[in-house]
Symmetry: C2
Subunit: 338 residues, 2 copies
């Protein structure tokens, strides 16, 4: 089955992906610190059985007990945005239920009892929310969600209380970044109850001009409103980025040269660090969407984002690699894909 990132989604020239996450807890089990190992194990079984009963179409499900994975495989899940960092810190009794296309997943025994997640290509807030909500309803039939008529869904952290919803959109903003508009964007977005931050970059700040915008408020407004607010802001950012891109590329042979060289590096290099990959991939993505490059597609670049993380590269080799071996393996993955 094709992975969710195998096709270009709406506004795929700028929006890489959309993610919906719902935090849920069961009334019948203690929350977080008070839950026993035995109860955690019981929770895993209950969720698994609940999913088994639910009719979830053609998707086959994998059950990944994190204890049974090695360090690299666990870190690779984080790199591919399938689990949170805190989820892998203590692997005991942590269960990830993952659909075959990797679009739908459930973390069991995260901070909350359940974290439901859907991923989709491009700007797909409503479809992704619908999919997550459908899964939520199916689980609700057999699980006793902790829900309060006034507060809404009860969660461990008050920042999730209410809808338990975190919606986020991953945007590629090379033109706004070059125009140094991002700091201003961060300010204005935060005044609207949203947050924006870089998606990639080790140590040296954001690389690859990839930014994640997400809602912050979960209490006092409905899921629909939260999603529609986010959608409106993202639409504005998209229009801005498109306009600045047009200006940026107009008769600008320097940037076209830069784009083509980046493509040349990704196609030919034998060593690529993660940061270097992201920065060249950003140029290539810009080149594709502005018609400078052909012979390479947005889904190919999206797929690469899921394949070049340090742990993912090592997990693919079944062993820890030293930095040079890793960079060599990463360059090979990239070269073969392009």
């Amino acid at each position: 089955m094709e992975k969710w990132y195998g096709s270009t989604g709406p506004d795929g020239d700028i929006v890489i992906s959309t993610r919906i996450r719902l935090a849920r807890n069961l009334r019948s089990l203690p929350f977080k610190e008070k839950i026993t190992k035995k109860q955690q194990s019981e929770l895993n079984d209950r969720v698994r059985d609940s999913l088994k009963r639910a009719n979830l179409g053609e998707n086959k499900w994998s059950l990944l007990y994190l204890q049974e994975l090695d360090d690299l495989e666990r870190l690779s899940l984080v790199e591919r945005h399938l689990v949170s960092h805190s989820f892998i810190e203590e692997p005991e009794n942590k269960l990830l239920i993952l659909s075959e296309d990797q679009a739908v997943s459930v973390m069991v025994n995260e901070e909350d009892h359940l974290r439901l997640q859907t991923l989709a290509s491009g700007l797909s807030l409503e479809p992704a929310y619908e999919a997550c909500s459908r899964l939520d309803d199916l689980l609700d039939e057999s699980l006793d969600y902790a829900f309060d008529d006034v507060l809404g869904y009860l969660t461990v952290c008050p920042t999730n209380l209410g809808t338990g919803l975190r919606a986020s959109v991953m945007l590629h903003l090379p033109a706004l970044e070059r125009a140094q508009i991002i700091p201003q964007l961060i300010k204005s977005v935060s005044r609207l109850g949203l947050t924006i931050r870089g998606s990639y970059g080790e140590g040296t700040g954001v690389v690859g001009a990839t930014y994640q915008v997400s809602n912050q408020v979960t209490l006092g407004l409905s899921e629909k409103t939260a999603i529609s607010n986010l959608q409106n802001v993202v639409r504005q950012i998209i229009e801005n980025e498109r306009a600045v891109r047009k200006e940026l590329l107009k008769n600008n042979i320097d940037i076209i040269d830069e784009i083509c060289r980046s493509y040349g590096v990704l196609r030919h290099a034998r060593l690529l660090t993660g940061n270097e990959f992201h920065s060249h991939a950003s140029n290539v993505r810009l080149g594709i969407s502005e018609g400078v490059l052909d012979g390479v597609s947005i889904p190919t670049m999206n797929a690469l984002l899921n394949r070049v993380g340090t742990a993912t590269i090592c997990a693919g080799h079944g062993q820890r690699l030293n930095p040079k071996e890793r960079d060599y393996a990463r360059a090979k993955v990239v070269r073969d894909a392009l």
Copy 2:
């Protein structure tokens, strides 16, 4: 007819080309400063007629009167090593006679009355000398060379007196350059009556690791001896370069990465300065000869050396280009060739 640089010559992994030049003057005409315009014109006619009478095989000859060329075309001849810089300074009455494969040429009214030149691919001192000598003999039949039984051929500058021979070999020495052995090489070569200097580079020193070795002594030793001395020294340099290359590339993924990236830049860049071309071309040439790259050949790289000079690029467009237009045109020539 294919140009002389269309094939790989002997030791073509390291030797780009061989050049032989003979300086000759006529007894019946005043030398250099004393020659009148009318006599210069007469000399042109005599050489032209002399060549016409001579049987020179299938090569067709072009007569290029430098006055009839524009600045760019004249500079392009210098860039392609077909004439000297001083030859184009005062174009009046300067005649270049050029064979169709560009391997054989005669400058008439250079410093000396005649400068005969042959070019050949790879290390080809003897064949190139034979070809030049054959042309020399044919011209000798109808021209009254100024020759002294003791001194040999009489020339304007005493450094050419005797054989009038300058033999030079253009070498690609990236490994010796990286190993910082060139300064030492320059010293030892000069002790043997030879000279070595960089072939390319504007302002910032040698680029492309391309060096020209040539004889300095023309008096007191025969042409054969001069050529055999040069050949012996060049053979030693070749063996050194090969050995150091082998060491350099052994398990060295960094240099392999550098080579592959250079290939990527040449294949994809939209802007290339001359210096940048030479430095990436040097890596690519090394990559070809050491089996790192396929899909590109040494003759392709040799041909590019004759096509990427600033004036040559502009002459191809029939107009002066600004630096950016030039770099764009150069990148296109390189991209199309690769």
